[in-house]
Structure formats: C-alpha cells, structure tokens
C-alpha cells in the first residue's frame, strides 16, 4: 500500500471498486456538499470532488474533500493544472495530505473559455502527466520538484483520467501508457456510452499489458433525458454518444425516459464488469447524485466491502 486510501485497499484486494463524484456548490454553504455526500456514501468506496469543472468557479475541491472526510468518506481530490503553478500545486498536495486526504486525481482541466471567467489567464505550468510525476516524486522520493527534501511525505493514491473517445483514437492508449510510466495507479475514464469503442481501447490497453499496471475504472453517467443526451453528444468535446442510445431513450414514453437512462447505466456497468482489466466503475450522476445508490444496487455492487 502506498497510502491509507480505502479506494487503494479495495482495488489491491481485487474487489470491483465503485466511485462517484460530487460537484461543489457555487457558494460558501457547506451543507450542499455534505448533503450530496450523505446521499451516496453507503454506495461507494470513494467520492471525487471536481475542481472548478468546466471552468465555472465553485467551492474548492480541497475544502469540499475535507468536509467529506469529516463525514468518514474517502474523498478523491481532483486537481487541475489550469489554475495553479508548481508552487501552489506542491503546497496544496502537502496541505491535503496533512488533512487526511489520500487520493488525488491529476488533470489538466477544462479550458477557461468554457466557464464564467473566460477572460482569465490560464497557468499550465505543467500538464497532467507532470502532475502525476510530481505527486509520485514527493511521495516516493520525498523530494520537491526543485530537488529539496520534504519533511513528512504526502502518501497519496495517484489517479488520472483517460478519454478513450477523444481523437486521434490510436493516441489514446499511448497517452495512457505515458501516464502509467509517470506513476499513475488508477484511472477513471470519460463517460462510456459507446461500449464498442471502449472495448477496442481496452484491447489496446491489454495488448500493452497496461491493465496489470493500473486500475481502470469505467466512467458511467445516467442520461436523464433526450435533451441531456443530445447536449452531451453535440456540446461536450470528446464525448461519444451513439445515435442508437439516443433513439433508445426517445423510444420510451417521456415520463419513463429517466428510468430508461438508469437502466442503460446499470446495463453498462454489468457489461463493464465482464471486460478484462476493468477494475471498477466511476458513476458520474450529474446533479442526480440521489440515483447513485440505486444504480449501484441494481448493478449488484452493494453492499460495499467494509474494513476494520
């Protein structure tokens, strides 16, 4: 074990892991994140907190993770390199470790153009692969990027994202290989709606033996409506929503469409469980967190394993 992370323990024991995520509020009220945490905590092994996703300013992932930690939840600190240089990044890594956070998801982040602060300057002192290297170096070598020694190392379980649906397709597994070489231990993928393409990517992952070096958690998002499916298909870059999936949701009565979305999510999880090298799922129920326990239950993922 490289950390005290419950998620790491689950994966190292060979259990099929379940993670989910909470988007922090656009305000200072701590109850919002606590309420979301309360809704899903029994159904998952760890909960990610997004870091100003789509570049819309929200409560920090760091403080939201602390709020979840205080509730006995194992949080995953998402950290983007868009807003912090290497000084702030290393400082936040130390602070998060000191407050008992032991999972980190290393991301480059959505460009500021998408958010509510589109006139901002981005940082990108480093990219997500450098962030993986940074956390690993601090943890395993006990050294800052500048080479100076740390007094007290941050013990993190290191994660990153992968998007098998972005282009060029052949480069996606290459980028995963680079993340693995950099020291990543778990991967949460972009939402999987196109299982064929995901399976092809997993084939490439296995061909390179990467599935034995990193735990891959497949991303699953339930569709609430045809509108949401269309929005994700057209508006979210790097998202692959097949027409057949939209047609399937459209094919049922309007009031039953969200039910169909849940059903599709459950089926996706069941299929992911059968793919060699997939070690868990990451359920992203966007502003629909209350559905996570139901999805986990119907997919046969409950109860979650407990440790002393």
């Amino acid at each position: 074990m490289t950390s005290d992370s419950r998620l790491e323990k689950i994966l190292e024991k060979g259990e099929f892991a379940v993670t989910s995520e909470c988007g922090p509020p656009r305000g200072a009220d701590p109850e919002v994140i606590k309420k979301k945490g309360e809704l899903i905590k029994e159904a998952v092994d760890a909960i990610n907190v997004t870091d100003n996703q789509t570049s819309v300013v929200r409560m920090s992932s760091f403080s939201s993770c602390v709020l979840l930690k205080q509730m006995g939840i194992n949080p995953v600190l998402q950290m983007v390199t868009r807003d912090r240089n290497r000084i702030a990044i290393q400082s936040d890594i130390l602070g998060a470790a000191a407050l008992g956070i032991n999972n980190i998801l290393c991301l480059s982040g959505d460009h500021q153009k998408f958010g509510d602060q589109s006139t901002a300057k981005n940082v990108y002192d480093m990219d997500s692969i450098h962030l993986i290297q940074t956390v690993k170096q601090m943890r395993d070598e006990g050294k800052f990027l500048g080479g100076e020694e740390l007094k007290g190392v941050p013990r993190f379980f290191i994660g990153a994202a992968a998007n098998p649906f972005a282009d060029p397709f052949e480069s996606r597994v290459v980028r995963l290989a680079k993340k693995v070489a950099a020291g990543v231990q778990f991967i949460q993928t972009q939402c999987i709606f196109n299982l064929d393409r995901f399976s092809k990517w997993m084939e490439q992952v296995r061909d390179r033996g990467l599935h034995e070096k990193v735990h891959i958690l497949g991303g699953v998002t339930p569709m609430k409506s045809v509108g949401m499916a269309n929005y994700m298909k057209k508006m979210v870059p790097g998202m692959d929503v097949p027409d057949e999936l939209i047609a399937r949701i459209k094919g049922v009565d309007k009031e039953k469409r969200s039910e169909e979305g849940i059903k599709i999510a459950v089926e996706t999880i069941q299929q992911l469980k059968e793919i060699e090298g997939v070690h868990g799922v990451h359920v992203m129920a966007i502003e629909w967190e209350e559905m996570v326990p139901r999805i986990a239950k119907e997919a046969g993922l409950l109860p979650r394993p407990q440790f002393e």
Partner: protein, 222 residues
C-alpha cells in the same frame, strides 16, 4: 514575423484628443508585411484621423513618417531633427518599436496605434496565424516541427487532451488540435515512437516568466 492589427479608430482618437500636432510613425519591418503599420497604413490612418478631427471641429496636424525599423536605434534617429516640434508620437509599429521610441525620445509622449498580437505567418492573403510564443527553449525537434506550447490551447507538452475531437480543439471548432497535428506529422515521418516519450516539465526561465530577456553576443559587440 511580428503580427499586429490596428486599434479601433475611436480608441486612437481618445488617446490623442488633447493634441493638435503629432507625428504618426510607421515601420517598414514586420508590420508593413502584415499590413498593420507600414507606409500605406500611415497614410490611411492619418487621413481618417484628420477627417474625424475635422468633423469634431478640432483640426489636427499630422506629420507622416515611416521608419526603416523602429527596433533599431539608428533608424529612430530619422525623426530627431523635428521631433521637438510635435506634441506627441503615435506609433503603429509593434510594441517593441513603440517602447523603443519612448526610450529614445523621453520628453515626447508616445501612443500605440496598433495591437501587437503574435509571432506568426501569412497563412494566405489577409490571414495570419500564430506559430511561436518565443518560450526561449525550442522543442520542435521533439514534436515533428509543430509547437505544442503555441498550437495547444493548454500548452500541453504531452497531449492530446480529452477534448480533441475530429482534429479540432475543444476551445474552438475552427482551431486545429495542435496534438492531432503533431500526431499526424510524426505518423507521416514514421516517428510515432516519439509520441511515447514524456516531454519533461518545462523550465520557463527562458520564457517571459524569467523577466525581460536579454541576449548578449560578445562576438558581435563593438
């Protein structure tokens, strides 16, 4: 070359509203090639300013000049003999030229008539695109001759990110994904193995982050 673009005329009129006698200084270097600040643009801008001021009932005298280059001290001397007869200089050279004029003529206020945008190329007639952010540490040998710092909206050294879609950048559907271009080029060159190499975290001291940069060539100094 350095690519610039004229400022809106109302912004320029606001800057010079209190002057009645100015020098409008163009540059025969880069900004002539990109049609932002050459002799031709000096003529057009001077006419437009005169006309606008005439309409306001506040006539202005404009001395039109085009210096060989505003980034070389010897050419800045071209206006020394008459600079004191004018209240201000409006320069339509790049930001370097504007500043060099200001350093040279300390008593005369200097105003910028163009925005300096980037180091780029003439993509086609009337279209210029960026190629270099002058980071001071060229990596083009690693990336098939395509700069990730300039061409990737996030300046990722190990892309493409998850927002690359059909060859386009998530930031703008009209912008090519820099890393898709790098991938395609390396593939064409039979050097895809280069994609597997982690380009290490960058040393930005050679970039703007190290403060204003300076190059001294002892072999050339007089």
């Amino acid at each position: 070359m350095v690519i610039g673009e004229g400022k809106p005329i109302k912004d320029i009129l606001f800057m010079i509203e209190n002057y009645s006698k100015i020098i409008l200084a163009g540059c025969r270097g880069c900004v002539t090639v990109c049609s932002a600040g050459g002799e031709k643009e000096v003529g057009i801008l001077a006419s437009a300013l005169r006309l606008a001021r005439q309409n306001e009932g506040k006539e202005i005298e404009i001395k039109e000049v085009s210096l060989e280059r505003q980034c070389d001290p010897e050419y800045l001397e071209e206006i020394r003999s008459f600079v004191d007869e004018y209240e201000a200089i409006l320069s339509i050279a790049c930001g370097a030229g504007v500043q060099f004029l200001a350093e040279t003529y300390k008593k005369t206020p200097i105003y910028p008539g163009i925005n300096t945008n980037f180091i780029g190329v003439t993509q086609e007639q009337g279209v210029w695109t960026e190629r270099c952010q002058s980071c001071g540490n060229c990596k083009l040998h690693l990336t098939g001759g395509i700069c990730p710092i300039t061409r990737c909206a996030k300046s990722l050294l190990n892309g493409p990110c998850g927002g690359s879609s059909d060859g386009k950048c998530e930031v703008n559907p009209e912008t090519d994904c820099g890393w898709q271009m790098i991938y395609d080029r390396l593939k064409e060159l039979g050097k895809l193995d280069q994609m597997e190499v982690i380009i290490p975290i960058n040393d930005w001291t050679t970039s703007r982050d190290g403060g204003p940069r300076k190059i001294v060539r002892e072999d050339l100094k007089l």
